[in-house]
Amino acid sequence: MKPVMPERHYLNDNYGIRSWLFTKDHKRIAILYLFSVTFFFLIGGVFASLIRLHLLTPNGELFEADTYNKLFTMHGVNMVFFFLIPSVPAVLGNFLMPIMVGTKDLAFPKINLLSWYLYMAGGTFSMAAMVSGGVDSGWTFYAPLSSGYLKTHVIMLAVGVIIAGFSSIFTGLNFIVTVHRMRAPGMTWGRLPLFVWSNYAASLIMILGTPVIAITLILLALERGFHIGIFDPKLGGDPVLFQHMFWFYSHPAVYIMILPGMGVISEIVPCFSRKRIFGYSFVAFSSIAIAVFGFVVWAHHMFVAGISVYSALVFSLLSYAVAIPSAVKVFNWTATMYKGSIEMSTPMLYAMAFIGLFTIGGLTGLFLAALGLDVHIHDTYFVIAHFHYVMVGGMVTAYLGGLHFWWPKMTGKMYPEPPAKLAALITFIGFNLTFFPQFILGYMGMPRRYWAYPPEFQVLNVLSSAGASILAVGFILPLLYFAWSLKYGEVAGDNPWHATGLEWETSSPPPTHNFHHMPIVTKEPYAYGEGEEVPVVH
């Protein structure tokens, strides 16, 4: 029997621009976020492409040094604050968290909408800073450079980041309250999908960490605007204090980015292996462990910044502690595939790419946490390669995997499988070609944020730029076939993947109130293989 679209669902429940801009439906807000983060991702991607284009030649021939500095600043700010942090939580999390716990909306729907408006307001400030001349502080805003020396609109950009931070705090708050208070009957903590666990862990970091970046940037703005000495020694401040405060948020922030991505992988791997997740409670608690340990490792960004040898020792040791729960997750995902019945569909390809690339990203983190070695590779392309392996190879891959996995649920339509598989493959190849050479470049000693570089680094830079052009194709393809699928895609049906989880028990797309009948949960999550027929291979 061919599936048919449900007659009424959240997308056609109401029409008109007002029904979107004033919606309190978490699913519609997720769609608003989907468009906005895609927009910022594309802008950030254009900056990245220009950076890679510029670095084709060693002598800085394409852009002026100041322009180049603005490009990497705006690339970083766009990608970190306006794409990586909101992508999985605000798009997929917003859509799925209430459905996964079996309720009709988030705890505070109006605050949820406010989050999106704050995000857009923050984005507007950062775009304004961009079009009114750009900012060249680097996304790290290090003082006293940014507070006392630069002539660009640092405060405007900082205000954008601060406002967007509140959006993140509200989303985190909403998730935490929803998980605590609004679970369906029978949805015990031990039955929560791992996607919920990991977003819950990320939410803890959002509400505890994000205020610190706001405070830090406000202090920076006070120093820049009113010459109140906090970080600039000329005014009696201490520049290392800025780094402590900045990384106190910005290190945990990488876990805000990666934890929800890990949650996506924990959903995809069991589904396409037709197996329970291996070691559910270990995967769940490793998310919490990452969130907790993540708060006490920040100074590993500062081993050569002039901190004491003894604090460096402590932070190095603690950094290894945070590596362990990540390793536990990787091993559990791998073990989940053992003796499964594995279908290599597009989401699974992305999940497998994630496991491989995140493993490399995580393992190269061990290099950077090793004190004597970090002295050499700190602030080189090695660091760039490392965090792009985690953030692009890990997080963006997970986001794309999740988008493919839940696309039928969000739109009711199937994307076309062959071009999707091709895009996954192109992304994987392009990604590795872009970023693997950067590990070598970094160990050779090429520093970050260099507008021009010695000629012996050129071949590796050209390889990297070539990879970036392939990667760009891999990112553009999904845009095209997702758009195509909205009109021409096959009707997906409620549960095209034969997956477990409450989101698959409602229709696709779900009704505005998510469920036709209030769900009652009687099973553990990932109850694959209980009297099921082996689904058809796509």
Partner: protein, 355 residues
Amino acid sequence: MQLNFPIFPEQASSVAGQVDALYLFLVLIATFFSLLVAILILFFAIKYRRTPERKAEQIHGSTLLEIVWTVIPLGISMVIFVWGAVLYYHMERPPQNALEIYGVGKQWMWKFQHPGGQREINALHVPTGRPVKVTMISQDVIHSFFVPAFRIKQDVLPNRYVFTWFTATQPGTYHLFCSQYCGTKHSGMVGEVVAMNPDDYATWLASGKAEGSLASLGEKAFQQYGCTTCHRPDSGARGPNLEGLYGRPVRLTDNRVVLADDNYIRESILEPNAKVVSGFQSIMPTFRGVVSEDEIIAITEYIKHLAPQEANPLNNRSAPTQIRDSEVPNIQRQNEQQQKTEQGKKPANPAGKKP
């Protein structure tokens, strides 16, 4: 395009080989685990691929396995941690006999001063086979002194001296990069480190147009800024005597004891009221904006060269810096007596803080 590009940097310092050994160990570990995971997921994906007959075998988990893959990575991590920590500790502890060179970073250049008074810009000449300690400060924003061939890096801060050290092993010319983003011409803040064998180095030093040793430059500045007006060894001095000060503990008015090192001396010139020596008053004006970082380095070098006087501490009120904790009550009594005798003539116990 240079097609015969290297993929490994030159090893030109005593620690380079040690850093590379740790790096290669980590490359091995990372390769092993990446391949392990990659091969497993590919193998599983192929061996257990879905066929109409294939049913997944449900396994809930295994506490034993969880323990195994927690403990093994933890063990390996601890090996890496200890290895990295030992190496770092070594890299952070310069040998006592190191040749001392001073560096100043500014947007966007490196300036270096040798003890013999030689100065260079964006170049640093060093001898091979001898530890060299580079003490640095920034005139503006944070920079970072990075010599890939030596595997060393140190952020250079605007408010205090930091140092790095190395022993060059191979004569040659190596990249010096600023690795902390410092504004427009960050990538132009580069230079070279020239390692020379000791004979060539001696020749180079002799050919340098030094106007006199760094200490003698400091002495000139010391007089030029009128420091000698107060910082004199005689008993009428209004500031502490600086002879033999360097490297000694100093007791402050609030009874804290601090070490008179480079950072202390610099702070005392720029923020005289921050740490006033016990027995003196905060009458010294700040020299911020007057004296340059280069001059402060020279003055500090001069103070280092002031040999301890053989003066008798009891009548040398101006040298409380050399006093041990146990002698403090004596000094206080002495100060009180002098205050009584001098009352009426001038304010009690006049003195600035040192320098």
